[in-house]
Symmetry: C2
Subunit: 122 residues, 2 copies
Amino acid sequence: MKPTDSELEILQVLWQEGPCTVRQVNERLTENRDVGYTTTLKLMQIMYEKGLLTRVEDARSHVYEANVSEEETQATLLERFVGTAFRGSASKLVMQALGSHKTTPAELDEIRKLLDQIEQQP
Amino acid sequence: MKPTDSELEILQVLWQEGPCTVRQVNERLTENRDVGYTTTLKLMQIMYEKGLLTRVEDARSHVYEANVSEEETQATLLERFVGTAFRGSASKLVMQALGSHKTTPAELDEIRKLLDQIEQQP
DNA sequence: TGTTTGCTACGAAATTATTCGTAGGTGGTA
DNA sequence: TACCACCTACGAATAATTTCGTAGCAAACA
């Protein structure tokens, strides 16, 4: 399961909003950029065929839902990304990410706790 | 500067090896998968036109060099990636990366130091 | 009932990325 | 000189992704 960029954009909407019709997704997408309705429809149909989405056809307009979780998708994408962009070095990626993005104190704490956990493992 | 996957693969070789001829790059690439010589040539020509590479034409075979640094490229790609895959949450990405990849104690220490630095800033 | 509105399905164009074949040139070497 | 090996340039085929137009159907409504 390696969604394309457009597919990921749609998944993001569904992860945030839960089950949606094509129109609802399309409305969210058009907040950022111009996307035709049938473009979104076609993409969601393809994603349905691929198994990335499920749908309920009861109503006149189908209701779609993500069939892959946000976490597992992120894990897959991250795996690829660390490999291609950082030659597999997760720590280099982490340093870059922390260095150039703003992180709240609470988040920093959480990361620290995770570090503790990892170091305590035998 | 947003290199494609194939372009990134070539940049990786040049970052690791320094200046190379097309043949040298191609030989490195074919270690992993089948790539025709002219395929690599064409890609590197395109990258040269885009300004991603420089080249010296003195010798019979041109010698290419990366014209973007590994760090700035990683930063650009990371920026995009955090945005599209993690909705901008760098800390979520960091947690995932630390959780699912093996990191040495030395690297963990380095990350910890970076956390300290960030927290000390006003 | 006839018209408008909104939906799905789907073919196909448009765009972007990747791969490769071929032409033409240059240097080494028998 | 004639041949072979290796190089560049470049057009064009292929593949993957995204976009859109159109047909057809069904509910809502004047």
